[in-house]
């Protein structure tokens, strides 16, 4: 670990690695280096270094030799709690023997990932795009204000057409982001209140409404939105001749507890997301069964908060690699 880098302790919701991005709402701060202690994950410090594009990745190489796999996702892809060389992208690179790029960022939603695919991936000329999706985090397509940043979002109009709501130019200013964000937060809370959902005070991750069968109708809109976003991603990749692969991990609730009732299903986001991927004919790897089988009390696959640890990343990479070899995408 570099001793010259500043030391930092990170809690959930810290945004020290972000900066405003006019296209995506927020993106990584370029050329940043910190030694970070992640509360609730590991003890000690982990080195975090962003390259010149603001990604926690190697310096950019312009020459292309062999296949390129581009990985997109949230904090799991970014590697919260683990050293850079202990992430699934680095394990995948060893196994595939090709270039694997990591464009993961904490709290990135599927809609932002879609915008990255539409606007940024051409520059990297990838052969395969891997989208790591922690199934619980699919609800981020409904969150238009994240950790002090407003962000663009998709919505469905009354006819079911997909529309992109771009960000106000005022969003570049923190004070306006707070004002707009306060409105977005109130609007979301009001919608949830009308649906009998309470996510604010006294939130219990074990009875998150996303797992409750009697709350399914509230999330129908969200899954319809995800369906249309997936269609856009898949169509873009088909047009460009890029293989698209989704990777799903086990979520914290599946790993740490059994469901208390038949009406509380911790696999519900997995099931609904997989049904949409199948509907859109998008390839996916569900690593949750492997992760659950390999999880031990004395040798877990995740940290207490559900982020993959070194072992989890290794298993996830193996599952992705096996699938890509089976499909012949690395030949």
């Amino acid at each position: 670990m570099s001793n010259s880098a500043k030391k930092l302790t990170i809690r959930s919701g810290d945004v020290v690695f972000y900066q405003y991005d006019p296209l995506l709402g927020f993106w990584g701060v370029p050329n940043m280096e910190r030694n970070v202690s992640f509360i609730g994950m590991n003890e000690g410090y982990v080195r975090v270094h962003h390259n010149e594009e603001g990604n926690r990745d190697k310096p950019i190489r312009n020459e292309k030799s062999g296949k390129t796999v581009l990985c997109l996702g949230g904090s799991h892809t970014w590697g919260a709690g683990v050293e850079q060389d202990r992430r699934y992208t680095e394990y995948l690179e060893e196994q595939c023997r090709c270039q694997v790029l990591n464009l993961g960022h904490c709290s990135l939603g599927l809609d932002q990932i879609c915008l990255v695919i539409l606007n940024k991936v051409d520059a990297y000329k990838p052969d395969v795009i891997v989208v790591e999706q922690y199934p619980w985090a699919i609800h981020r397509v409904l969150n238009t204000y994240v950790n002090g940043y407003t962000r663009p979002y998709f919505r469905l109009d009354e006819t079911g057409a997909l529309k992109l709501q771009k960000m106000s130019p005022l969003s570049r200013f923190k004070i306006f982001r707070r004002m707009i964000g306060s409105f977005y937060t109130f609007r979301k809370e009001l919608r949830e209140f009308k649906a009998g959902i309470e996510l604010g005070h006294g939130y219990d991750p074990w009875s998150d409404p996303i797992f409750l069968y009697w709350k399914i109708p509230y999330y129908d809109y969200m899954y319809n939105l995800v369906d249309r976003i997936l269609t856009v991603m898949q169509d873009f990749c088909r047009q460009k001749g890029i293989h698209l692969l989704f990777g799903l991990e086990a979520i914290m609730q599946q790993i740490h507890r059994k469901s208390p009732s038949a009406l509380v299903d911790y696999e519900l986001p997995h099931k609904r997301l997989k049904a949409l991927l199948e509907k859109n004919r998008i390839a996916y790897v569900d690593a949750s069964s492997t992760m659950l089988a390999e999880n031990r009390a004395d040798d877990p696959v995740v940290f207490a908060d559900g982020h993959m640890n070194d072992k989890g990343h290794r298993l996830f990479a193996e599952e992705l690699h096996k699938d890509m070899v089976k499909r012949g995408w690395l030949n």
Partner: protein, 67 residues
């Protein structure tokens, strides 16, 4: 005022603020709700307008092209 703020939205705001647990939260949510009521009403009106326009319109700055 009647045009600026949707009556149903106003009722929802009163119910929502009344459902908060402490007096300070009730007050804060009522204040925020009344402040945002015109914008929330605009969203409702816009959604209704979408319904009318979308049947005939296939393109526009904020309608994302599906391939």
């Amino acid at each position: 005022m009647a045009q600026l703020i949707d009556k149903e939205i106003l009722k929802d705001i009163f119910r929502f603020s009344a459902a908060q647990k402490s007096f300070s939260r009730k007050t804060a949510y009522l204040f925020k709700g009344l402040l945002f009521a015109p914008f929330l009403s605009r969203v409702v009106r816009k959604a209704a307008a979408d319904d009318t326009v979308s049947a005939s319109s296939q393109a526009g700055d904020d309608i994302y092209p599906l391939f």
